[in-house]
Symmetry: C2
Subunit: 448 residues, 2 copies
Amino acid sequence: MRDFLPEDVRRREYVIGIIKRVYERYGFEPLETPAAENLETLLGKYGEEGNKLIFKILRRGEHEATGQADLALRYDLTVPLARVVAQYQAKLPRPFKRYQIQPVWRADRPGRGRFREFYQCDVDSLGSTSPLVEAELCGAVSDALTELGFKGFRFRINHRRRLTRLLRAFRIPPELHERALVALDKLDKVGPDGVAAELRNGGLGADSVKAFLAFYGLVQTAPGTYGADVSLLALDMSESASSNTMAESDEMSAAENLRAILELTKGTSAESRMHYDPFLARGLSYYTGAIMEVNVADLAGSLGGGGRYDNLVGMFSGQHIPACGFSLGLERILVVMTERGMFPPSLATSPADVMVATFDAAGAGPAMRVAGVLRGAGLRVMVYPDPDRIGRQIKYADGRGIPFVAILGEDEIKAGTVTVKNLARQTQRTYQQSAAGAAIREALTGRG
Amino acid sequence: MRDFLPEDVRRREYVIGIIKRVYERYGFEPLETPAAENLETLLGKYGEEGNKLIFKILRRGEHEATGQADLALRYDLTVPLARVVAQYQAKLPRPFKRYQIQPVWRADRPGRGRFREFYQCDVDSLGSTSPLVEAELCGAVSDALTELGFKGFRFRINHRRRLTRLLRAFRIPPELHERALVALDKLDKVGPDGVAAELRNGGLGADSVKAFLAFYGLVQTAPGTYGADVSLLALDMSESASSNTMAESDEMSAAENLRAILELTKGTSAESRMHYDPFLARGLSYYTGAIMEVNVADLAGSLGGGGRYDNLVGMFSGQHIPACGFSLGLERILVVMTERGMFPPSLATSPADVMVATFDAAGAGPAMRVAGVLRGAGLRVMVYPDPDRIGRQIKYADGRGIPFVAILGEDEIKAGTVTVKNLARQTQRTYQQSAAGAAIREALTGRG
């Protein structure tokens, strides 16, 4: 877990501001939930590996000595959302579209762009099964990344039911599906041989592993890319053969659903970025339909991902409320933007436009008053608190990037004036205190 | 701990936005720290009562079964700040002025405007002992409250060393001072007789309790207000008699310090709001100098408070870095603003400016494209995801306060047009899709 010094916070707020603005443009509304949830709300929602990574909070008071936990830190923003939607059903509109930008905590091993406390930027639509929902989420995420300055990003999309069929085609027994999905999820990082090894370690037979490698060889057109049409077709055959067993009577088939989503992204900024990936797995266990991930070159892992989870709200309320969402990882975005110098130069702002300097303790009162006058003129004003040597005070302002110093000596105080020093130009001029603010503002605008 | 639905979040962000803007006007810079600190960082900083209210996090992995805690949730923003300043000494400027607006957690009994998770809005100056620091903090807080629309608020100010002398005058032994301060801190809530009872329960002799009540009677001019000059004078006598024992050689005396602070608030918006209160105690144990609190009528407890804590950074780094800060409680501010209707009417915004409605599934693609065109015109646009009856869709928009519905029927799709319905006026008009955005914008501006 990390501290964010002023420069870090400014960068984070810049990114969050853009993401919020884009999500609001799509009609998503803000939601916030507490850091801690009841432990049982979180347990069993993230799969075996997830369960282990939940931070648990000790019961308070007399129970503390027992070492029992009753609360846990938020592990993602999706499960709390499902809990909220179940809990406030009567108060929330339907469809309900919300965004949520808050930290989550996982007791994971830290790595590049991977921390134990990290912010997720989630958008979710609840109440509709329409493929328009998935398409709109991809469009909104694509707009956000574009406004942040990202160029070469791509979405991969797959469907949980197609994955299930794929695993069945590999003759992987249902009780091992979760483990197999976790293995598949690592394909990006460890390659097909690595996944084959994971599958073997997970207790899968040699024929399953062989079937996986054969299928992988069939659909892979280049490292990391797959012939979308080929593989969609390849799976359509097995799908139509087994679709009766899947209770899809009033739902679209998985392939039709994916095609509809891809079709609806046309006309959004995500259109040319959509790629079907038959191996995309996503680690979390609550997904039921389409799953998506967005990647950029040179970053192992994704910038974010999401998918449809039609049964999660029902786990809390008993009522079936379909849902689909997408989560962007703030720290990943910041890592890439920092490495690629994607922040606007105007962002590295100094703490103030002008600093008021004084010669002695008697100057403190007049300095406070002049600072008030300058703030009234719309300036950000810092008062140097101690009567240090004036050279030291000016050096401080210069080192902090504060462009102007307002000096209040005995003469200025008597005359109701102030001497304003422009540090970049090494010029200075004395103004009536009431006129100094406008003069500094004008000079600042000229500089910009 | 609570959930914040969209309307709540908008109100919170409105308040936070104003507070941030004011603090930045004073040259304070943003800082953020993680939710969890090492447990030992927090223990022993908040007094006996505080220690009990810290939420502890279980150690992970093999140690989990032992029930031991190694991390704890942030209890306030001051101790993490002191830890940060000690840790990043070389990277941080001196003086360093930061603000921090983040949640803290206390296992306290919840009450009105009092929750287990709550946001503090802190401003602190580090590196200077000048009374200008305290005065500037009061000025900044006063400006923030004024911009939020608060009128009848008042600052109470006291000094920890004067309190110590007061306790000595009551013949309270040093080992009972902390408990006595906690008792005094409740004067607002329980009155003088309540404090007397607390003191008695805390093991204090009858003569101490009597001395407290006598002094209280001497300086109280009206319930909750004290004759500032009288009491400052009253204490000056005992102070000058004992000042040699207090190692104040190069520091101002406590009374001089308070007078300097009050003098320097002149010319700030806090000037007329400052009141000396010889009983103001503040619960936390790390204060060393001036302590402040800001109150409004009709709210038990304060909107916020703070003070000087010159030794806290040294507890982490060994290096003496003087510090002073002020913390506003966001939930308290929200409770009062909600009860008094202090939010601007423009804040209750709808989720979108316009909603796109469709008649059937075939309309989804054209709806996505029209939505993109309208967003390009700067509008916030929601697409209703399902082809429900058009009346139901319009009712949804109306219920959500969305002022316009863009209807895409078969004819409109063929003609490249869109019918825009103004829900308030019950009028509608058909536009070329490329012209609809400008027309809606114009109508929105007219409405405003």
